[in-house]
Amino acid sequence: MTAKKKSGLDAVDDGPQASDATEVGQGGSSGDPNAHVSVKGLIEKFPDAVVRHCVNAGDQHVVWVDPTRSMEILTWLKDDASQLYDMMTDVTAIDYGGGRPVNVVYQMFSTTHKHSLRVRCELPLDVMEIASVANLWKCADWLEREVYDLFGVNFVGHPDLRRILMPQDYAEGHPLRKDFPLRGRFSRAEQTRRALNQEVDRFYVPDLLEHAGEPQEVPEVGAHATDVGGNT
């Protein structure tokens, strides 16, 4: 990086700096794909969808696959008798910054075969969407909501894709993206103004109120009561 590095509080608002690396490679050592039964199976079954494979941290096999075919591949990994990844341990994402693609990461474990596998999909910043696996693994429901909330990845087919950690009306974007400054996008004054102006009703998501049915009619006692109550 040629520009002089800012230090202290000046650097805080800029967010993490992009590294000098221009290549996309995010892997460790390239390992033997035949060492892991699922990697071998994936390359045989989906030769054109497996982008690359590597072995990280000694023994952890990572496979990059084509995001447009992720549903097909993950369904096979869950249901095929030789794989049976019945436990979706984690769904998360990585933003490397600097305009590089956001990676969606699936960490899986098979309770039958005792295998672990990590599958990653690279999403270009202009196509931030991938098929939802919440119908395959129910636990992916909340995990995908969190990735949507913090990274802005759109999970197509998710039953209830809402923010989960941040408030529903949060307007500053997706906090774990590298272009999001640590202190937020709005100034402190704007954040305070919004906090003071919030309405109590927004804490109830509208569809939650729908589940409760229509509000019950309160019998009117007389004209005086409505005058005082003021139904606004």
């Binding site: 590597c54 952890q60 984690d90 992916a140 969190e146 950690l165 774990l176």
Partner: protein, 426 residues
Amino acid sequence: MAQKTVEIKVGRAPEMGVDGRPSMSPIAPFDIAEPDIGTEHMLINIGPQHPATHGVLRLVCELDGETVMKVMPDIGYLHSSFEKLGEYRTWNQIVTLTDRMDYLAPLIYNCAYVMSVEKLMGIEVTERCKVVRVILMEMDRIFGHLLWLGTTAIDVGAFTPFLYSFQERERIYKLHETLTGARITTSATRVGGMMADLPEGWTDQLKDFLDTFPKTLAEVHHLLTGNLIHIGRTQGIGAISAADAINYGFTGPNLRAAGVSHDVRKDRPYYDYETYDFEVPIGEHGDCYDRYLCRMEEMTQSVSILRQALARLPGGPINVADPNISLPSKTDAMSDMESMIHHFKLITEGIPAPEGDCYMGIEASKGELGMYVVAEEGSTKPVRWRVRPPSFVNLSVIPKLAEGHLVSDLIMINASLDIVLGEIDR
């Protein structure tokens, strides 16, 4: 309004114990709602500030009479953006963030984080460090389970176990304090070792605890395990099948209570857990009572692991000898030029990591705790630090578990999941 039919699981048949008293009591089946009394469903709000939600958790419930038709958990009140903050900190500075997540068992989080970073960097810690970390993690498993035991018992009206378990927790607090100087925010680990070795007399203090703790545990067993009120409130409540438990992402004691034999310490052993002699308790029905029994037995097993670990605790250094990873001693840093340079480089720059990513899953007191770190070549800060929170995934199952039960059972189900909101919201 159309009535929603919900199947109610009826409890097990009563069995007579050896002493002639019934050891289990049936849960009487009850009708959902009188079809001829047409009332609207009601939306009620539990939390975010309520003792029974065990933290700042809000549960929006749709009720038909007293029956829960739908639960919508609302989280995020304690969101502190730890993962974002981690991207601005060097590897060792992140340790202080980890114990603020699960403040009920902080040492497990300290250890899990550095284990993940060490695995990414290919650092092999010393034998003594491995055993010390096993001791700390098992001690905090008891620590976490004790809080669950006390608060869960109090949720169903039993006050005495709360006092008993908090007395025992106080002794572990003292062990924390002797070791790290802090009771909750321990921050005891560093990449490549520990902040400090065990102080003199610490193991004796722990041995004292191990000698008397099983007696307290037996007393709580006596108070709760055969207690008809406790049985009536827990058996058949919040049951889940084994296949569903896996699919919904349950881990830890919640998963094992449903009859799935999955423990990270057995399936993907770390720190020589395969050489320790311990059993993994498995439940049968997947209800609140089995979750209770699993955790109670896990505490007994942890005592056994702690005894074995103390017996095999080797001598030798606690930190790795590599000066690029471990800080030199203060005396060396002030008297030896080389050490001073290493000290300066480590503090100002940090430890460079290789390019790649590493997921390290360990068995925490609440389930599988995963630490996922991603680094670029030579970076001294993580590109991404992700915590796979066990409570977050366990809590997401609550709408399935609570549907069709009473509101009072919802409180019991929420308590039996053993959640901690610091880690759910992060």
